[in-house]
């Protein structure tokens, strides 16, 4: 992680965020939206896509400007860049679907302080050329969206008997009210963490994260 080592863009650049460094299931970052907006699969998907967009766009811009940003004010600069894209997302979602906008509430604006994005900007985008930065951000975004969908799917399935708003069990389904409430978020997250930790152990992968990438902001 020292300066301008021109790393080749490999599958691993993209796949790191999917599995080995999955922001939710491995790094446990961004817990706030993970727990708060995953009460339905649609909300989870929208939140995931919004975050992915901000991740990719801010990654690109930070990477392009990495030589111009003074080291002393870099965090503030990243925040301004991220906030710009969050504003775009904010207004776009409002224009597409007001229902969705109201369901996600303050959590769209709160993407600004999502530590995954700031972490990527600090640990990856500011040290790499634009192409790997974008590919890596995309991988992280897809990994984040995947994690949100894992939670949102289970919670909507048990809590409302539907998936993406399509009822699966007919109208006699008895909803598990607890799944839509905050405790359900914690329970389902715990269940997924258990499952993924177990899978990783079975595959013999040590739970170690590439040096420095996430130790800086945990």
């Amino acid at each position: 992680m020292n300066g301008e080592s021109p790393k080749p863009v490999t599958w691993e650049t993209f796949a790191a965020g999917l599995w080995r460094e999955n922001p939710v299931f491995v790094m446990l970052l961004g817990m706030c939206p993970v727990l708060a907006v995953t009460n339905s699969a649609v909300n989870a998907l929208a939140m995931g896509l919004a975050t992915t967009f901000v991740l990719v766009a801010s990654g690109l811009l930070v990477s392009l400007l990495r030589a111009a940003i003074p080291k002393q004010v870099r965090i503030a600069t990243y925040i301004v860049i991220i906030a710009t894209f969050v504003t775009i997302v904010d207004y776009t979602i409002q224009a597409i679907s007001l229902d969705l906008y109201n369901a996600l509430g303050a959590f769209i604006q709160l993407i600004v302080v999502n530590c995954i994005i700031l972490g990527r900007a600090e640990a990856y985008a500011s040290r790499n050329r634009p192409l790997p930065a974008v590919v890596n951000a995309l991988g992280m975004g897809v990994g984040f969206t995947f994690a949100l969908l894992c939670l949102g799917g289970v919670r909507e399935l048990l809590g409302a008997g539907s998936l993406f708003g399509v009822a699966l069990f007919g109208d006699r389904f008895e909803p598990w009210v607890v799944m839509l409430l905050p405790p359900g978020g914690f329970l389902v997250l715990g269940g997924w963490l258990l499952l993924f930790a177990w899978l990783r152990r079975r595959r013999g992968q040590a739970v170690s994260v590439e040096g420095g990438t996430c130790h800086t902001i945990r």
């Binding site: 008997g161 008895e174 607890v178």
Partner: protein, 346 residues
């Protein structure tokens, strides 16, 4: 140096033949009369519920126990969790929800923390709290005791297919030919209608309520058996009851219209079952002499506060869970002075 052998042993030299399986077996014996009375009151459906929940508890323990599962189901603690959980559920609770409750009880309440002896909270109550949060309607749907057809038919809600809403219970209750059943427990009747159930019914258990929480007299008798065998700490139920009386008594004297008398508070709801069989869970309760007292009083006080001032009509479950959670703190604060150690200087 010939022939004489001296065997060297370390203390303790005297052993009591009491181990975990023995205690658990006796707790099961003490629960069986309550189970029998519960089946007599509520019928075949309740028997099915108790069997299903207990079997699920055992299966979950076996499955999640991994290699130690075989051994850990043999100590009998999972049977107790299953029985206690079933006794706290409504008699016509759907079987599939009972399965969910048992999996939550053993899985979330016990095995997740490392199995027997590691659980900070009472597993049976964790299971009940889970279904209370998941299925708020079913967990507060009661059936009358001593229904006419309770041994020839099973309430339709008991046999509701998995994941589906129980239906048709009202017609079934109408078939039971019970006079004036309002569908509420004594505590609910008091809280929402201001009706006090006669003490005779509370003592015998011939009221609506969870499967095994109603017969106050029988529960005390079974609990006393365990207390005399020293398989439970008699100070805990006593302190719980003292807590209830200390909290409910002054309130009753203050305003007899709004607050019921302590007898009613003691004998209604799940207080007796909770005080004798759940609060006394050896894992979740303190061991220090003063700690036991504080723990019991806390449960009694919280129960009264939740019942009289909370939104729910019953609060024993949450009171015990809260006191379980406070146990490490209570024990820390009430550590006895080590014999011979100097008094701490101020």
């Amino acid at each position: 140096m010939s022939g004489t052998r001296i065997e060297l042993r370390t203390a303790p030299h005297a052993h009591a033949p009491v181990d975990v399986p023995l205690i658990m077996r006796h707790v099961i014996y003490a629960l069986l009369p309550i189970v029998a009375w519960s089946v007599w009151l509520f019928g075949l459906g309740t028997l099915l519920l108790i069997l299903t929940v207990t079997a699920t508890a055992l299966a979950t323990e076996r499955l999640l126990g991994g290699e130690g599962g075989e051994r850990s189901i043999r100590d009998g603690s999972a049977v107790i969790t299953g029985l206690l959980l079933a006794l706290t559920l409504p008699p016509a609770f759907p079987l599939w929800m009972g399965v969910v409750a048992a999996v939550a009880a053993i899985g979330l309440g016990k095995m997740l923390f490392g199995g027997l002896g590691m659980n900070p909270l009472n597993p049976a109550l964790v299971g009940r709290a889970f279904v209370q949060a998941a299925f708020p309607a079913s967990i507060t749907t009661w059936i009358p005791p001593l229904g006419a057809e309770r041994f020839t038919s099973v309430a339709p809600s008991t046999l509701a297919p998995p994941f589906l809403r129980p239906e048709g219970l009202a017609e079934w209750i109408a078939d039971q030919r019970v006079d004036a059943f309002t569908g509420a427990t004594p505590l609910g009747l008091f809280k929402f209608d201001g009706v006090i159930t006669p003490l005779r019914d509370l003592l015998a258990g011939t009221t609506a309520g969870s499967a095994g929480e109603t017969p106050a007299l029988l529960i005390v008798a079974c609990g006393l058996y365990l207390a005399f065998r020293r398989f439970l700490d008699w100070r805990i139920p006593l302190a719980v009851m003292a807590g209830v009386v200390l909290a409910a008594g002054p309130l009753h004297l203050l305003d007899a219209e709004r607050f019921p008398d302590p007898w009613f508070m003691l004998l209604s709801g799940g207080l007796m079952l909770g005080a004798w069989f759940m609060a006394t869970d050896m894992v979740g309760s303190p061991v220090t002499p003063w700690g036991v007292l504080i723990y019991g009083l806390l449960i009694g006080l919280l129960t009264v506060v939740i019942r009289l001032f909370g939104g729910l009509s019953e609060g024993v479950m949450y009171a015990i869970l809260l006191a379980n959670a406070a146990t490490p703190l209570i024990e820390r604060l009430t550590q006895p002075r080590v014999f011979g150690a100097a008094r701490r200087k101020e």
